[in-house]
Symmetry: C2
Subunit: 227 residues, 2 copies
């Protein structure tokens, strides 16, 4: 599941505000994007998870079943559900406790990191959320039944959610690409952060667990979003 944040006590946001404040005082303004944007930059790691349609939830959990929010995420209205499923891969290898993110969507999609895909024994393409045509499928198992997904297993491309005011500040458009520079001991720049602009979005970059591990990400590591 995505690193979750209670909207009222947002540790990531506070950490970023402190970082930016320190940076303004300590450095000589080399990070204008990070320090002067209209909104603080939040970076979160999305662990493997799935999105399901209401119909698929009912197949897995029973007629009329509604997802129960367990932890609210940083994006308004999004949550990690109490419910999780078992994913069965093409070689009958299994991932237990695959978290469902709510609310329901109009399609089924499983988002894995490359390490997860390797452990299951299949190749998963890098795709933007929703772009699932021609991707591999899998089987999901819930307490009330099985769901056969013919497609929808992806490695989500790293991406940034932002509102139009953020896009205007960074000078980027919806569906363009930006870079995320992650400092620290390792030092990694993600060169193709897919930009998703919507008035409902809060400024947040999502990278997966492999990407987070590779760059040694923690909320203490400085991050900078660059056009």
């Amino acid at each position: 599941m995505a690193a979750a944040n209670n909207p009222s006590i947002n540790r990531a946001q506070i950490a970023q505000l402190v970082r930016e404040s320190l940076r303004r005082h300590v450095q000589n303004g080399t990070s204008p994007q990070a320090s002067q944007g209209p909104n603080p930059l939040v970076v979160n790691i999305s662990a493997r998870h799935c999105h399901l349609s209401q119909e698929s939830v009912e197949t897995l959990f029973g007629k009329g079943h509604q997802l129960t929010p367990k932890k609210w995420l940083y994006q308004e209205g999004q949550y990690a559900a109490e419910e999780s499923v078992t994913l069965i891969g093409p070689r009958s290898r299994v991932i237990s406790n695959l978290r469902i993110l709510g609310p329901c969507r109009d399609f089924d999609q499983v988002e894995l990191a490359a390490t997860d895909a390797i452990s299951l024994g299949f190749k998963v393409p890098v795709r933007n959320s929703g772009d699932i045509a021609g991707t591999p499928g899998c089987m999901l198992m819930g307490p009330a039944g099985f769901l056969e997904m013919n497609e929808g297993v992806i490695r989500a491309a790293p991406h940034v959610h932002m509102a139009p005011e953020d896009a205007a500040f960074y000078g980027v458009e919806n569906k363009s690409f930006m870079k995320l520079r992650v400092g620290g001991d390792v030092g990694v720049t993600f060169d193709r952060i897919f930009v998703r602009v919507d008035p409902s979005f809060k400024l947040e970059v999502h990278i997966d667990t492999d990407e987070g591990n590779a760059c040694g990400f923690s909320q203490d590591v400085p991050c900078e979003l660059i056009k």
Copy 2:
């Protein structure tokens, strides 16, 4: 173990030569470092492994035991040994078949990716090979006994081996940093590739499995070394 290459049939080197040749014909020379250097750029992924002293090998495998080369690596004289050990972490969690790389060194060192360290349940610092003071230890188990390492478990910093002629070409010095730009669907630049210059070294970047998975590395993905 590091991705291994038989010196006489070097798939990585051939792939790189083909890539460079194609690039010269297809593109308009935007990658001078990659296409005009004195030696082809080889990038290999090092999976978790250990280096041991001869004394430690004898503790684990018996008095007088010598490592047996199983697969020669790209760097002259380096090999993955037939021998492997079991690593026991601080919470009694285990990694089996931890490959030993030879020849023996004068210290013991275990190199893990962040994902390995997380699965074992401890934190491992990013260090250059040999810089092990103050790092965590672990227990190794072999057929003839146990070896208690008080320190030496690291996440190896991504690094590049090169000869003085490569360093002159790139304009870098021993112990400086370079960048490795990895293309493909994900697009990741490693901003702190530690430079190790020695007349015996062949030009080769080593990244670990997490870094390789994060950038979607394969021998078909274009890589560029940048000062």
